[in-house]
């Protein structure tokens, strides 16, 4: 019974694919009758477009939304218990859990793919897979992790927690919110189907002309990426509207929790820059499917154009990933230091400064691309300038823990590790912003280690801080603290060992995205591989802890951390309407140590269990 909407979605998708594919075949036949069956790609592209529409209508868009366009009554049955997680539902808390669980699974799968990559790289020469499999596995690992990095915090935590933090009942557009989640399963299907269609050997960056001329697996990748972009654009729009319009009485801009500010900043980029990458990807699809020549140099196209468009999104995109990570880490640091967030307004200014600068640094990805020489110096300086607003995040983190009353439990340990890891990520970024050193380091494992330090060491550590911090609120149960600490120390040590070794291998001339390498690099690669396996095993502790605690952990109180912000002033988990009484915001969220100060009231007193 629970799966009926999903089955109906699949049936509608099949019908949509048949109609779209048939239409494409018909058009192709009419346009060039001589070459009937000229290629499968137009059929796949148009078929997929209608299949996507069919899937969305079938899974719930028709019942919960589109019926009213035709004057029909909506059908929205409230389903209890676990079944609601398989439904097109508009409750932001359900959607948040859908996102979190989906992207945790994607994270673990993509992690397994990296284990495969490290197995191949344990020794030079071809060992466990061929070069085409390697390229496809590497590209899949990349795009899946990029999706996790973009969607896990904004789709997961921001969905669950942001409306609570600002005292709202839901997001501004609850049905758009459901839509942005339910376009994600087709993305997964396309990516998993891609290896069956020859895979894609361009990595997640999909540079043409290679991405125009290679196997059909590339088309599936491009369609997946565009669809995921749609989800990201809609999500950005929704969170901007939510923060602007749905703040509770008294929740002024100056009292917004820092996590809300960070999501708001990231949402600006998500809404705007993503449209540019969609454009870039669509032009590649047009080159492939209908033979246009945006990137065919022989017919007046320009391969370099794509790189500018791609990075015009994909550099700001790293701030879609890391800004909410900053916000989350600072949120945890201040609550577990029991001190006000240091330099709150400066950090907000820093976030907005990062948003502004993030749009004008993209060409630092093109220092060795053959781009005109005179562009190097301005892009180098603009890139280095980003360390000024980013430095404010460090000032705030250090100022907050200084003289605090630190509670070193699992979420706090992950937040502190975030500061350490991102410090290494930030400092090594300087070597890549500097053109002379970048000429050598570009496309080596130094770059790989650097962005893993920012995104995995930074954002993923922040995600784990958030998972442990909000676990009681989301599930209504406590996790096992001892297992949490074991997970933290294991992951922290193995993570740093793996990626510090990777910097060294990169400096020694190991270039990225290769299945084979010169024999003298064997020792370093073997070391990185073994360390990475130890890192991978640390997640088993986490999985065990989550599954066991969610099923049988002790019931969580409304506010087990005695935190001031609004999500803790309601029961764990919160009721459908979020708060038992309409929340009222009275003072700043982080005024720890100020006698008698209360941030907000919402009807549940301190320590009041459900």
């Amino acid at each position: 019974m629970a799966l009926i909407p999903i089955i109906r979605g699949l049936v509608f998708a099949a019908i949509g694919f048949a109609v779209g594919g048939g239409l494409a075949a018909l058009i192709a036949g009419l346009a060039a009758p001589a070459s009937a069956g000229a290629g499968a790609e137009p059929i796949i592209a148009l078929g997929y477009l209608l299949a996507l529409v069919g899937w969305l209508l079938g899974v719930g868009l028709w019942d919960a939304w589109a019926r009213e366009w035709f004057g029909l009554p909506l059908k929205q049955a409230e389903v209890p218990g676990w079944r609601r997680y398989f439904r097109f539902t508009t409750d932001h808390k359900v959607i948040g859990v859908q996102y979190l669980v989906t992207f945790l699974v994607v994270f673990l799968l993509a992690g397994l793919l990296s284990v495969l990559l490290r197995l191949e790289l344990m020794a030079p020469g071809q060992t466990v897979m061929g070069p085409n499999e390697f390229n496809s596995v590497m590209g899949l690992h990349g795009i899946m992790m990029v999706a996790v990095a973009v969607a896990a915090i904004i789709g997961g935590f921001a969905n669950f927690v942001l409306p609570l933090l600002i005292g709202a009942e839901d997001v501004a557009f609850p049905r758009v919110n459901a839509l942005s989640y339910w376009v994600v399963p087709p993305v997964a299907v396309l990516l998993l189907a891609s290896p069956l269609a020859g895979g894609f050997d361009t990595g997640w960056t999909a540079y043409p002309p290679l991405s125009v001329t290679n196997a059909t697996g590339q088309l599936l990748f491009l369609l997946a990426f565009i669809t995921f972009g749609l989800s990201s654009i809609l999500g950005g729009l929704n969170f901007l509207a939510t923060v602007i319009t749905l703040r509770a009485p008294g929740m002024t801009w100056g009292r917004l929790p820092i996590f809300v500010w960070s999501v708001f900043s990231a949402a600006i980029i998500s809404l705007t820059a993503t449209q540019v990458v969609a454009l870039a990807l669509i032009t590649v699809v047009l080159d492939r499917v209908v033979g246009m020549s945006f990137y065919n140099a022989g017919q007046g196209g320009a391969p370099l154009l794509y790189q500018h468009l791609f990075w015009f999104y994909s550099h700001p995109a790293v701030y879609i990933m890391i800004l909410p990570g900053f916000g989350l880490a600072l949120e945890v640091l201040t609550h577990f230091s029991r001190k006000p967030l240091f330099a709150y307004k400066w950090v907000v200014g820093g976030f907005l400064g990062i948003v502004g600068l993030s749009f004008i640094v993209w060409a630092h990805h093109l220092f060795t691309s053959g781009m005109p020489d005179e562009l190097h110096i301005p892009f180098m300086i603009l890139t280095e300038l980003i360390s000024v607003p980013t430095g404010l995040v460090f000032l705030s983190a250090l100022g907050t823990i200084w003289m605090g009353r630190l509670w070193l439990n699992t979420p706090m340990l992950f937040a502190l590790a975030f500061v350490f890891n991102f410090l290494i990520g930030g400092i090594t970024g300087i070597f890549l912003a500097d053109v002379p050193t970048d000429i050598h380091l570009q496309d080596t494992y130094f770059v790989v280690a650097h962005f893993h330090y920012t995104i995995m060491g930074g954002e993923v550590f922040a995600i784990f801080a958030g998972l442990y911090y909000w676990f009681p609120k989301i599930t209504g149960r406590m996790f096992n603290e001892k297992l949490g600490q074991i997970h933290f120390w294991w992951m922290f040590a193995a993570y740093n060992a793996t990626f510090l070794a990777m910097f060294w291998v990169g400096l020694q001339g190991m270039n990225r995205r290769v299945a084979d390498y010169p024999a003298p690099l064997a020792g370093g690669n073997l070391l990185v591989s073994i360390l990475s396996f130890i890192l991978a095993l640390s997640f088993l502790v986490f999985i065990y802890n989550v599954v066991r605690s969610w099923a049988r952990g002790p019931r969580a109180a409304a506010n087990p951390w005695r935190a001031r912000t609004l999500e803790w002033q309601t029961s764990s988990p919160p009721p459908l309407e979020n708060f038992h009484q309409p929340p009222r915001v009275l003072e700043h969220p982080y005024d720890y140590g100020v006698p008698g100060s209360v941030h907000a009231t919402a009807g549940v007193a301190e320590g009041h269990a459900r």
Binding site: G370, I377, L395, W402, L406, V419, D434, T437, R513, Y592
Partner: protein, 249 residues
């Protein structure tokens, strides 16, 4: 927990960590042994950035570790910390210092780039032109002055500036010689140019950094799109060139 933080201990820890880090960075060769004039400029930049980065890294780590150890509570804190919301002097200083550091970095980066470029302009006389043509998945080297075309190896004389003119037949590749620290993409539809002046003899057999390696993912054979580089004395190069051009004709 009412004692004041120990500022002297912090400064000492920072100084010791900084000194140790700088000593380590200077004693361990961060990069493989350089083999061109350009490589020495780039390695100088690498050392400079490392020396600048170590004290910043050390400062944050010392503050982080000190706070985590010094201010931690046993279990759940019984009281709140002092309500310090900020410190205008510190905030302004922090922004100014980071801004100055960025300007220093920008200055050295610009100077390094101009040095490489200036060196390039000087190299215009007496230079050896090598046309590098890339395709899936091989490199082809043409020496127009000698009428040589080869896919076997990139052979160069020591001490003479080389102008590489790089083209691509099919997809984007990237011309990278780790020992020279030169890297530039080969892009269909355009010719990219990069210079290197080899300044010591060497070969792939002795040092694997003497290799042309494709550095832009170009499909199936990307990882093995490698040819050896050999740098020899000018007289040996001329002898090789005479022999090769005889064979080509």
């Amino acid at each position: 927990m009412n004692q004041r933080p120990n500022g002297v201990a912090l400064v000492i820890a920072w100084a010791v960590l900084t000194a140790a880090g700088v000593a380590l960075a200077l004693s361990v060769g961060l990069f493989p042994s350089p083999a061109s004039k350009e490589a020495r400029i780039i390695d100088g930049a690498m050392t400079l950035l490392t020396v600048l980065a170590v004290p910043i890294f050390a400062m944050v780590v010392v503050l982080l570790l000190y706070s985590a150890l010094r201010f931690r509570q046993r279990g759940e804190p019984a009281e709140d910390g002092p309500p310090i919301r900020g410190n205008l002097k510190l905030e302004l200083t922090w922004v100014l210092v980071t801004l100055v550091l960025v300007l220093v970095l920008a200055w050295y980066g610009t100077a390094g780039l101009l040095e490489i470029r200036h060196h390039t302009a000087e190299a215009a006389e007496g230079q050896l032109v090598v046309q590098v043509h890339s395709s899936q998945w091989s490199w082809e080297y043409t020496y127009p002055a000698y009428g040589i075309r080869t896919k076997e190896e990139l052979r160069l004389p020591v001490g003479r500036p080389v102008r590489f003119e790089i083209t691509a037949a099919d997809v984007i590749h990237s011309f990278w010689v780790p020992a020279f620290r030169t890297k530039i993409d080969a892009v269909p539809g355009m010719t990219t140019v990069v210079y290197a002046t080899p300044d010591r003899v060497g070969s792939f057999q002795e040092d694997y950094h003497f290799r042309v390696q494709c550095a832009e993912l170009c499909g199936l054979g990307h990882g093995v799109m490698v040819t050896p580089v050999v740098v020899v004395e000018p007289s040996q190069f001329e002898a090789w060139a005479a022999q090769q051009s005889g064979r080509t004709r």
